[in-house]
């Protein structure tokens, strides 16, 4: 007979909300509204799938993918920044800098992509698809810019030798991950979904 070791119930860790409770009003509120964006897009697309797919083919999926990689990598650096801040490691601010640089890269690629489309005559009023493309990516870009502003403020307000404001790091991280999550869904919806 094999003796089965009885597992002692582990002590449950105290509940921890990343950042602070208030920021989740913004996070969940934004997620609800973006969910309405996405459903609206799908409903309109279902009304005229051929036109939407023809316009979708005019997008450059390589630039979309590049931006996805930039944001995913930036999120990785952000997560590292939070982890290092919790440990009190001196590299935490450098991770924020890396996140900012990658976020700026996203903005540059987006500006280039919009410029390319506008020069080709594919503007906001070209078609329903392009209305959604510019409005959704524009509202998302506004989130990126707000996120970058917050990260710049965080970067300028912490020195490597200090005790880090961990909750602030977490709050900024939560918002930056939201920016990333919304882009991943937008990328799939606008560039990939047939």
């Amino acid at each position: 007979m094999i003796a089965v070791p009885i597992k002692q119930p582990a002590e449950r860790p105290a509940k921890h909300i990343p950042g602070e409770e208030g920021i989740w009003v913004l996070i969940f509120g934004d997620m609800v509204v973006f969910a309405i964006f996405f459903v609206t897009f799908l409903v309109y697309k279902a009304g005229n799938p051929a036109a939407y797919e023809a316009d979708q083919a005019l997008l450059n999926p390589h630039l979309g993918l590049l931006n996805t990689l930039l944001l995913l990598t930036s999120s990785l650096f952000m997560a590292q920044a939070v982890r290092l801040a919790r440990l009190g490691a001196k590299e935490a601010p450098a991770m924020i800098t890396a996140t900012i640089v990658l976020g700026l890269g996203f903005v540059v690629v987006k500006a280039f992509e919009w410029g390319e489309k506008i020069r080709a005559g594919l503007t906001l009023t070209h078609s329903e698809f392009f209305t959604y493309y510019y409005m959704f990516t524009g509202i998302h870009l506004m989130h990126v810019l707000i996120g970058l502003g917050v990260l710049l403020w965080l970067r300028s307000s912490c020195k490597p030798s200090e005790q880090y404001p961990v909750a602030t790091f977490e709050g900024c991280g939560v918002f930056w991950h939201l920016v990333d999550l919304l882009w991943v869904v937008l990328f799939a919806l606008l560039y990939l979904m047939k």
């Binding site: 409770e21 009003v25 913004l26 509120g29 934004d30 209305t131 707000i146």
Partner: protein, 231 residues
């Protein structure tokens, strides 16, 4: 309790009721489609002249009552921001800039309905201008609510004047107000002046936020830091 702050908060609630009454009286809730034929759009005003005029009186009262409300709100924000209050001063300038269009909406609608013998084109153009003035100030709303959110989040008091979630809610509503500025590009769809993102989402979230601010002001009226000038 600081009775001035409490009275200001209630003036905001009354203002909201008058303004909602105006929108109902103008029959623009829900807003008619911008793709209506011009004659039909003009008839909306010439056939509802009494409603348009009554709505303008209601809007005149409602928009005026918003200023005591914002006066009380500034009072709270000033205490939250501390000794130097550049952001509160900024907010004090943005709000009149955002509310002035409401007065002009009223003038446009009244002028559109005033002379029924006026040409259809002229009536429709004035009515269009009224709708643009009502919905286009989206980015002004963005500036107003984001600045307010930052003041609330940077509160210097050991016990904050407003709950921090209200600061985040302000930023959220500010971001959602922005699509209103894009309505001239569209006559149909969710970004047109009757669309879900240009009208319904901003109106719904703005209404929720004002109600939350009103509640928070009544709460702030009892805050120790708001009692210092009370005799």
């Amino acid at each position: 309790m600081n009775k001035s702050i409490a009275a200001s908060a209630w003036s905001g609630m009354i203002a909201m009721m008058f303004m909602f009454g105006a929108i109902i009286s103008w029959q623009i809730f829900p807003p008619p489609s911008p793709s209506l034929p011009m004659a039909e759009w003009a008839a909306h005003f010439t056939e509802n002249r009494t409603g348009v005029f009554v709505g303008s009186v209601l809007m005149c009262i409602g928009s005026s009552l918003f200023f005591p409300f914002f006066g009380g709100f500034y009072g709270c924000l000033k205490v939250a921001e501390g000794k130097h209050t550049p952001l509160t001063y900024g907010m004090m300038m943005i709000v009149p800039f955002g509310f002035l269009p409401l007065f002009l909406v009223m003038i446009c609608f009244v002028t559109a309905a005033y002379r029924p013998e006026m040409s259809t084109e002229m009536t429709a153009a004035l009515a269009d201008a009224g709708m643009f003035l009502l919905v286009i100030p989206g980015f002004i709303g963005l500036a107003q609510w984001v600045v307010t959110g930052i003041i609330i989040l940077r509160d210097v008091n050991p016990q904050p004047i407003f709950p921090r979630w209200l600061g985040y809610a302000n930023i959220w509503v500010g971001i959602l107000a922005a699509p209103g500025s894009f309505i001239p590009f569209f006559k149909t769809g969710p970004f047109a002046w009757n669309g879900v993102f240009a009208f319904w989402v901003p109106v719904f979230t703005f209404g929720m936020l004002l109600t939350a601010v009103l509640w928070a002001m009544l709460r702030a009226a009892k805050h120790p830091a708001m009692q210092q000038d009370q005799s």
